[in-house]
Symmetry: C2
Subunit: 192 residues, 2 copies
């Protein structure tokens, strides 16, 4: 995608997604909140009852090469599919040691050793994802990954995150929180 | 560098650098201003008489590989050398076509075809530089490069920017402004 897509994920009292679980995986967690709203513009007023807010930008590819992009493009599906009523928001901060590496060293650990892209490919098109970068924004995390899937793929999703957390790349994770969500139907969403 | 270094470059009536020239190279320019101040913290109040303000983050390496980093590290000198009283601030925005490329395609154009790193190496240690990223910040530019050099290296600096503007990489530049500066001595800087 050539244009940068800003998004602010706000945990609070309102929003189209119910937060079912907020678990610290490494380092500090986040305060519990009932709902998540996603605001796709900078500088907007915060929704009511904000417990936490995480911003990021989905922009250009940082590690994916042209051949991988072609395979990903052929297999992946977009966000917002009607049946994809389950989601996960996983904010991650990596260590200083990771950011001290040169680009080729990070790519080598990311894919040649940890097979991050190839593992993700095995779960396409069931599990759709979008990566948001936030390191340059001065946020507490470096990335936010948003995943969407249908309830029947929940076990596959657990397997995917489990495999990624066993990789060498994951050893550079300094802080991670795992937030699981369920999309509310319009009637539920109005019941505030 | 493992930590991200935020900076806001503010063109206005105050600051330690006199702006000697502000020239559009491609696309829209910037309004003229007399002085430049550099604010190294987010969310600070703006200095007086602001004409323009450009923020960026100097963070991890985006294209440089480990071997190149070692050579750069051995040859380059830091900013703030006493004799380096000349500077250039060059904000650049690249085209959508650039950002649509995968990482390996951008690296290939950047270095294997355009020799961006190797050209810069020829001018070390005379010309010190720091690159700030601003694309994720929602700014009008994608990068800001800050160069510092002594007056006797001004001709070498002209040659460097001329060579970089002849590369294939440069054809992906959509907007560029070239701002030239002179560091004021403390007595001059107080004469506001």
């Amino acid at each position: 995608m050539s244009s940068s897509q800003f998004a602010r994920f706000v945990g609070g009292d309102v929003g189209d997604w119910a937060i079912e679980r907020t678990a610290p995986v490494r380092g500090d967690g986040l305060p519990p909140a009932a709902r998540l709203s996603i605001v796709e513009a900078r500088g907007r007023e915060e929704p009511l009852g904000v417990r936490w807010a995480l911003s990021g930008v989905a922009g250009h590819l940082r590690y994916v090469n042209a051949a991988e992009r072609a395979i990903l493009g052929a297999r992946q599906e977009g966000l917002g599919r009607r049946e994809a009523t389950r989601a996960a928001l996983i904010p991650i901060r990596k260590t200083a040691a990771w950011w001290d590496l040169a680009q080729d060293e990070r790519r080598y650990i990311f894919e040649e050793r940890s097979r991050h892209i190839r593992i993700g490919l095995e779960y396409l098109p069931s599990i759709a994802r979008r990566l948001y970068h936030c390191r340059d924004l001065g946020e507490a995390f470096d990335f936010l990954t948003w995943f969407e899937y249908a309830p029947q793929h929940a076990a596959a999703f657990e397997e995917l995150v489990g495999r990624l957390r066993e990789t060498e790349e994951w050893s550079y994770t300094e802080r991670e929180v795992d937030i699981r969500l369920r999309r509310l139907d319009p009637a539920e969403a109005r019941e505030d």
